[in-house]
């Protein structure tokens, strides 16, 4: 068992570790960009009836389609789309988009849709008097958002965002089907090469579990730290 996980040519330790690093990088990038886009979508929703409709449609579609399918659509569709656009500008050389990039794009879009819902729910829990007081004292809308609404929004949204992080972390495994060499993919390769599928899948499961466990603790710790004092 330990030989299997040793580093170098004999074992799969280095492949698995590299896979783990890819998984973590992918998850972190998608979480940061996805929640940022989700927050922007929440703001866009307030900009008018049309933008509210567009954001609503986006969120509904991305939440209504299986994640694996979204990843496939991005994976197989984006290349066609980009090449089509490029061709219409007269650029005919083959454009190869990296699998990692497409995976990150798909997961970011999914995360954005889910987090937009979390932010919307959180925003509606803030009493309107908070923003009204900011207006009454002459705050610029951007400052009112940054200084008054956002700090309260994050506190309320945090448990929901923690959930999104955990789901995202595990959704990165779906990307293995598009041959991005993340943790799940490397485990599958190792399982196939060694004829020890159970061992490698169990190792992968343990790694996902450990990351999730630490994430949960981190979320709880942050929640405690930034809780609005006195309000539980």
């Amino acid at each position: 068992m330990f030989e299997l996980l040793s580093f170098g040519d004999a074992g799969w330790g280095d492949e698995i570790s590299r896979g783990l690093v890819t998984t973590l990088i992918l998850a972190v990038i998608c979480f940061v960009t996805g929640t940022f886009v989700g927050l922007m979508l929440t703001l866009l929703r307030r900009a008018g009836r049309f933008s509210r409709f567009v954001v609503g449609a986006y969120v509904t579609v991305l939440r209504g389609v299986p994640e694996l399918l979204v990843i496939y659509l991005f994976f197989f569709g984006t290349g066609v789309f980009v090449r089509g656009v490029a061709a219409s500008f007269g650029y005919t050389e083959y454009i190869n988009l990296s699998g990692f990039f497409l995976a990150a794009l798909a997961l970011t879009c999914i995360t954005a849709a889910y987090s937009a819902e979390v932010f919307r729910g959180a925003a509606s829990s803030i009493p309107p008097g908070q923003a009204e007081a900011a207006r009454a004292f002459g705050f610029k809308p951007s400052k009112a958002f940054r200084l008054i609404e956002l700090p309260q929004l994050i506190v309320v949204a945090l448990p929901g965002l923690g959930n999104i992080w955990l789901i995202l972390l595990k959704d990165t495994a779906l990307v293995s089907l598009t041959s991005v060499a993340e943790l799940m993919r490397q485990s599958t390769v190792a399982a196939g090469a060694t004829f020890r599928p159970f061992t490698f899948y169990a190792i992968a499961a343990a790694i996902y579990f450990i990351i999730s466990m630490f994430s949960e603790r981190a979320v709880t710790a942050v929640e405690r730290r930034i809780a609005i004092t006195g309000e539980r």
Binding site: G129, A133, A136, F137, G138, F139, I228, G230
Partner: protein, 253 residues
């Protein structure tokens, strides 16, 4: 030349078909305390909220220190220009539900408009906030969050926040209506003290005895119009309007 600290002229406000304010004119001179009384639905809170444009008037003229306040309404929404923000920042608003920012301590609440709207330095804001909190008797509670303060203390912190911007007019929207009866007094005492200090105020209140004591002028609103206006002795003791007489006698018992 009459010099009004703040005034509205022929103010109208409709929500769809419903006209809430039907051409109201009212002014407060420097150092005057003007109380708005009337039954609920009479439009007195709407009038106060139109003064700092939290509600957008359908029509009517506003002035501050005899200067017209220009406001542009587009698609039913106020065009929030820098001039509007500056105007608002020169009026100190105290809300019925305090509306202290929940994630900030009392001191931070008072400092926030000073730092982020008036652009004072950290030390100036700190100093002014401490003075304002001292004035409302909340200095030793300055580091408490709103949730750790009683209703009366929260409202006093909110008054300190309005006071600290050194406003040209203080606006109070039913400042004691959300308070437990035993906490009303501490808030009213602070307001009386400010009035005696020469602050110009407009206040909406249900506390008749307080209105009589603190006001230089009382305006009785009924169905979106000012039915009676004058010194408290006239409005409370010898109103010429029958409606006002009825309201005053039922409200004081």
């Amino acid at each position: 030349m009459t010099r009004h600290q703040i005034s509205v002229e022929n103010l109208r406000k409709s929500y769809g078909q419903l006209e809430v304010l039907k051409g109201v004119s009212l002014a407060a001179d420097k150092g005057e305390v003007v109380s708005l009384i009337g039954s609920s639905g009479s439009g007195k809170s709407t009038l106060l909220r139109c003064l700092n444009l939290l509600e957008v008037p359908t029509s009517g003229a506003l002035t501050l220190e005899d200067q017209p306040v220009e406001y542009v309404v587009r698609n039913g929404a106020l065009n929030e220009t820098r001039a509007i923000r500056q105007y608002r920042a020169s009026l100190g608003m105290v809300f019925q539900n305090f509306n202290l920012w929940r994630h900030m301590t009392a001191a931070q609440n008072v400092q926030a408009p000073l730092r982020h709207v008036l652009g004072l330095s950290k030390s100036e804001a700190h100093e002014r906030a401490e003075r304002a909190l001292e004035q409302v008797g909340l200095f030793d509670r300055r580091d408490h969050y709103p949730s750790q303060l009683s209703g009366g203390q929260q409202q006093r912190a909110a008054i300190a926040r309005a006071l600290a911007i050194e406003p040209k007019v203080l606006l109070f929207d039913e400042p004691t209506s959300a308070l437990d009866p035993e906490l009303v007094k501490e808030v009213l005492n602070v307001i009386v003290k400010l009035a005696e200090g020469g602050a110009t105020m407009m206040l909406v209140t249900h506390e008749m005895r307080f209105a009589r004591e603190v006001s230089s002028k009382v305006a009785f609103l009924d169905a979106g119009q000012i039915e009676e206006t004058g010194p408290p002795s006239q409005v409370f003791d010898a109103p010429s309007s029958e409606r006002c007489a009825q309201f005053v006698s039922s409200a004081s018992h």
